[in-house]
């Protein structure tokens, strides 16, 4: 076996000879190899170990390629590791986070009493302001309900919001930059593909899910494709990520758009993946493309991707959104139809009037 491998590697048979513990090899290629190993440790065992390691590495490589190919075609190993590994991680991390929150609560409640009085006064003032705002908002909401009723604008019942907590950011060596772990899984409303939002706007979507834990990716991930339109001018486009710490790009937006830098981009819902009307990003720069019929637009995401702790999952309810109110058919504008194409009544009326 040893000689066969040597023959395979060097094209000639070795002449093994043990003088003490040193090997002597035949052939020109063996001289540097011999001197290398003799200089490192001076023992033949080292070469034998190296050869065994080489064979082991080869076998492991073949095994790995087989498993990797199997996983790429069936996704079986990903499913197994997600269902077990991610679930166990969630089981470990959930109590840790709860203990962390409990300790923080105890600290806030019992120990950190130094500024409580001042804080209380400030909070009471803040409550008064907020109450006034709530009153004003409630008036606005009532008006909005009335106007919606008046316009018969259907409310979107296709999505249900579910609260979730971020357990961890990038965790483990096998994680990419733009991922985080949440405390909901596919049995609790976080199936793969579920959109994730914050109070600021769209944050990302669920990538992989275990029964009670899920891994999500941020919307800046290069595989993100979100159907959007500009909030004021309603020009459609596709928002795509360019990677971590980089702005996002809007593709396929018509050159005729009247959008301006600073304008918000909201989801259009046309892709069926995200509900309509969620703010996503703000336009940073825009200029006509020199190579296509579209604008070149860069935008920054609205959601804070570094300091978010709680998120909302938008779970599809399965209820189909009611269609928009039917509008009357557009009036035909163009040259008059020839007589033989007109309806019979019209022709008779025309003849009668003559």
């Amino acid at each position: 076996m040893r000689d066969t491998l040597f023959l395979f590697l060097y094209g000639e048979a070795p002449s093994w000879s043990c003088r003490g513990a040193s090997p002597v090899f035949a052939g020109p290629l063996c001289k540097p190899l011999q001197s290398l190993f003799l200089s490192i440790c001076g023992k033949r065992d080292a070469f034998v170990n190296f050869r065994h390691a080489l064979i082991t590495a080869g076998l492991l490589l073949v095994l790995f390629l087989a498993l990797y190919t199997l996983n790429r075609t069936t996704g079986m190993l990903d499913r197994v590791t997600t269902n077990i590994g991610l679930e166990v991680t969630g089981i470990v991390l959930n109590p840790v986070r709860q203990i962390e929150a409990t300790v923080a609560d105890i600290w806030d409640s019992y120990i950190d009493l130094v500024h409580v009085r001042e804080e209380n006064v400030a909070l009471q003032k803040r409550v008064q302001v907020l109450e006034a705002q709530v009153l004003a908002q409630s008036e606005d909401m009532a008006e909005l309900r009335r106007l919606r009723e008046l316009l018969k604008m259907p409310l979107d019942v296709s999505w249900t919001p579910l609260g979730a907590r971020i357990l961890a950011g990038r965790i483990g060596p096998n994680s990419q930059l733009e991922s985080f772990t949440i405390n909901r899984g596919y049995t609790t409303g976080a199936a793969p593909g579920t959109p994730i939002v914050t109070n600021q706007g769209l944050l990302g979507k669920v990538l992989r899910a275990a029964p009670h834990t899920a891994t999500a990716i941020l919307l800046t991930h290069p595989t993100s494709r979100i159907a959007i339109f500009t909030q004021k001018t309603r020009t459609p486009g596709i928002l795509t990520g360019l990677g971590p710490n980089r702005p996002m790009e809007v593709r396929y937006m018509d050159k005729a758009t009247k959008a301006e830098p600073g304008e918000l981009l909201v989801t259009s819902g046309l892709d069926g993946k995200y509900p309509k009307g969620i703010p996503v990003a703000r336009i940073l720069t825009m200029r006509p493309s020199s190579s296509s019929e579209f604008m070149t637009i860069l935008a920054e995401p609205l959601a804070d991707m570094r300091h978010t702790e709680e998120v909302l999952l938008l779970e599809p309810t399965g209820i189909v959104r009611p269609p928009e109110p039917a509008s009357p058919a557009p009036e035909f504008v163009g040259p008059p139809l020839p007589d033989f194409l007109k309806p019979r009544d019209d022709r008779e009326d025309g003849a009668g009037s003559r």
């Binding site: 440790c41 996983n71 166990v88 965790i171 060596p173 994680s175 990419q176 991930h221």
Partner: protein, 159 residues
């Protein structure tokens, strides 16, 4: 009883490793366990610990399956090579394995991100590798001593 003590030690190690990974992104805190069982030649523990580590790391990560399995397989290769090269000196063996595992961490992070067309930041990749090296350098002797306490208790009980 001692078997239970051993299992409990490893479960506590896995638990603490996951929590450490929560606070140190990108670190593989569990690979030191594989190093320790390899040194102890505790093949019974290795049989379940290696799959457990692979499943945990692959499950909590967001890349497709492959990184951890390859990383641990490479460790065994590196372990044998280091044993061959550093026959006389335990210190050289210790340094070779630590630095090698750190370098492999960086290499595989880059390799699998490129293979799966996932964006990566080279600074982060190198930082994670350096961090992994220092982690192994520090955690290996500490956990080794803790393991020896358990092993010592076992031997004492057996005698």
């Amino acid at each position: 009883m001692h078997l239970l003590q051993n299992i409990f030690w490893w479960l506590a190690f896995l638990f603490c490793g996951i929590i450490l990974q929560l606070y140190v992104p990108g670190l593989d805190a569990l690979v030191v366990g594989i190093i320790l069982v390899s040194l102890e030649k505790d093949y019974k523990t290795m049989v379940w610990l290696v799959p457990a580590v692979v499943i945990l790391q692959e499950g909590m990560g967001s890349l497709s399956f492959g990184f951890s399995m390859f990383y641990i397989a490479s460790f065994f290769l590196l372990y044998r090579l280091s044993q061959s090269i550093a026959l006389a000196s335990r210190l050289i063996f210790y340094l070779l394995v630590s630095i090698g595992m750190g370098a492999l961490h960086s290499f595989y992070s880059w390799f699998f991100a490129t293979l799966q067309n996932v964006p990566y930041d080279m600074n982060v990749v190198v930082h994670d590798g350096v961090l992994q090296t220092f982690y192994i350098l520090v955690a290996w002797p500490i956990l080794g001593r803790l393991r020896r306490l358990v092993a010592h208790d076992e031997k004492k009980a057996e005698s």
